[in-house]
Symmetry: C2
Subunit: 388 residues, 2 copies
């Protein structure tokens, strides 16, 4: 046991736990809604709190460029700036800058890139990624890693893993220097910030082993699995998750970055994951795709034009208890902003409620039957759709 994380129940490889962060306690397994630019798209903080969101994500790349981490630091940190009092995790910006393709240049020092906003040149290094996140004052900051595209040859992946390990050491050294007071010119809105290392290695299990070994040797407060949900088949991802999670410390939370569908969450909890984030619930909401117990509803379909049922008749969210598919279809077809809000409220509720179901099932020791029921209903829907 340590002060950061306690596992309270186990059911197979699935864990039920509590994560103690500077801005509050988080019940795990947990899903973290994504607030890229200091807002979860389409909803207010009050709505997020009502939905039961215990921790959200902010994005280092976007906030560094606009409004700037120094401005946010002067406003007292990201919590103060955006008016969110519960925990926040910030990513390192690595994933975004590597996605910039022809707008970035990688060197041993870090990544030089051009802003997607105005073309201005910026540099992100293992050290500056720590400093930016210290200024933002998130509860959890992520180390700066290299995230190569999938599929990658073993050679390409090995180079990325090895560079990421050297960057891990530099990022950790910087973090410890900030903690010890050796660095004094970086304001820290949340002095008890914890730092997560990131395991890379693509879908090559030997490279995952290499990354785990090196990252554990550096030593972080906890560990995340990166470089998945980037195009590989789901069964491959599940195998890599199972293989990697099993090697991570039992007494630390395990965070699977950027994943995924509701099925992915359930399958990854079954393989020992405690934390998730993903843009799917909010992005798909804006595209008119609603997650339900029986699969995804594409609300623009003509079949919903006069359907007076709620999106998910078993759902207790604001949208499902007040509105019909017919109305939501009308709002989506009309391009009303309220469409994005109502769909996001539903999808976020669905994700957060799925996590509540997962936590309860682990507590009661029946997670495997929960999992099989959940997957069967999602799968039945998929087969019905394919048969049409």
């Amino acid at each position: 046991m340590n002060s950061l994380f306690t596992v309270t129940h186990r059911d197979g490889a699935a864990r039920r736990g509590q994560l103690r962060l500077p801005h509050g306690i988080v019940e795990t397994p947990v899903f973290m809604p994504v607030g890229t630019r200091a807002a979860v798209k389409g909803v207010t903080n009050e709505q997020l709190e009502s939905l039961g969101a215990e921790i959200i994500l902010g994005n280092t790349y976007h906030l560094h460029l606009r409004p700037g981490d120094e401005l946010i630091a002067r406003a007292g940190g990201l919590h103060n700036f955006m008016g969110w009092s519960r925990p926040i995790l910030t990513d390192s910006g690595g994933y975004q800058v590597f996605s910039l393709a022809d707008r970035r240049k990688i060197s041993e020092d870090g990544v030089v890139f051009r802003s997607h906003l105005d073309g201005s040149a910026h540099t992100l290094t293992p050290e500056s990624a720590v400093d930016i996140q210290a200024r933002l004052g998130s509860d959890i900051l992520m180390m700066f890693d290299e995230c190569p595209p999938w599929p990658g040859t073993e050679d390409v992946i090995r180079d990325a893993v090895d560079r990421t390990l050297r960057w891990a050491q530099r990022g950790r050294d910087r973090m410890l220097a900030l903690r010890s007071g050796a660095v004094t010119d970086v304001p820290r809105a949340t002095p008890d910030q914890v730092q997560f290392g990131i395991i890379q290695g693509g879908t090559h299990l030997a490279m995952r082993d290499r990354s785990v070994k090196g990252t554990l040797a550096v030593g972080f407060d906890a560990y995340a699995i990166g470089g998945l949900s980037v195009g590989e088949p789901a069964p491959t991802m599940y195998d890599v998750v199972a293989h990697t999670a099993a090697q991570l410390p039992e007494d630390r939370p395990r965070y699977l970055m950027g994943t995924g569908t509701p099925t992915d969450l359930v399958e990854s909890v079954a393989r020992g994951i405690d934390m998730f984030d993903c843009v799917l619930p909010t992005r798909n909401a804006r595209n008119g795709q609603l997650f339900t117990r029986d699969g995804v509803i594409v609300i623009k379909n003509a079949r919903y034009a006069e359907d007076l049922l709620p999106p998910d008749p078993e759902c207790s969210c604001y949208t499902c208890t007040h509105h019909s598919r017919a109305y939501l279809r009308h709002l989506f077809m009309s391009g009303e902003i309220t469409s994005a809000t109502l769909n996001s409220l539903h999808n976020l509720h669905f994700y957060l409620d799925t996590m509540r179901g997962i936590r309860k099932a682990i507590e009661f020791g029946n997670f495997d039957s929960f999992r099989l029921d959940f997957l069967r209903r999602q799968e039945t829907f998929r087969q019905k759709k394919e048969a049409q």
Copy 2:
């Protein structure tokens, strides 16, 4: 006294009253948020109720085209369809079809127009405007009128007034036929719907007199003043409002259509108006303009980049009690949907709260001092801005 409306207090020409509608009682003077396409842009019904909105507007032209009034009738009417249980007023569609310019043709029968959505041909007549609104099942339906552009010559305005009077009679006849049961093929979701006549006449006082006399002779449940807030100077509008309102029945609510700025509301209450609607609070919110006690804030201005004050330090709305100008500027500059929501919540609160202040002032018999204080603060801001 009648069952529709009671004036409970008077203060000069200003009136404090209660409007009894099929879906609830409305305290007047009242501002009605506009939900053009069965949604007030950027906010949920729950948020609207929390803001204290007692009645909202729906738009006949837009709802007739999409999703269609027959579909809405099959869903049980507009209240059921959109999940709003408080009163709704629907306009007649006249204003929109006359705005279509080269896409419409006026005849004595009505207006033939092409949909802005798909170019399909539609006809709106005094009778069909009643039928559509009967299917929508609003609490208040408006007669179909001709709204000529400003400025218009006296001849043009006279023709429009006279045609509007002929249409008024036809619209009223149709309404009475529906009420009496003589027409049976039009479903009526709200059988106790009331019908408002509309006074036209532009800025020609003699034409206003002609319109008042003719419309009163037809006889509606209550009366609205149309054809203002279409480009004429504010002082001209106030003169026409004062001149026209004074001729309308004392015991019926008076509705000034499509108006206006906060100053317009206060000035028009002082001239005897009881009801208002306007897209300004929500449209300006989406454009980053925030109404405050001291005038309008344009949130994108660089001066707000690090301004940690709320938009209006005296405001008790969700936005002002949780967020700073700096954060709202960031959301606006980033194009976040949440920007539209937070700004709309504030602007709608400002309008609805101004109306609460107006109602209280009339009750206490100090409306004139309320009015002068209100105008002085709005005006001081304008002068300060011009001096910069």
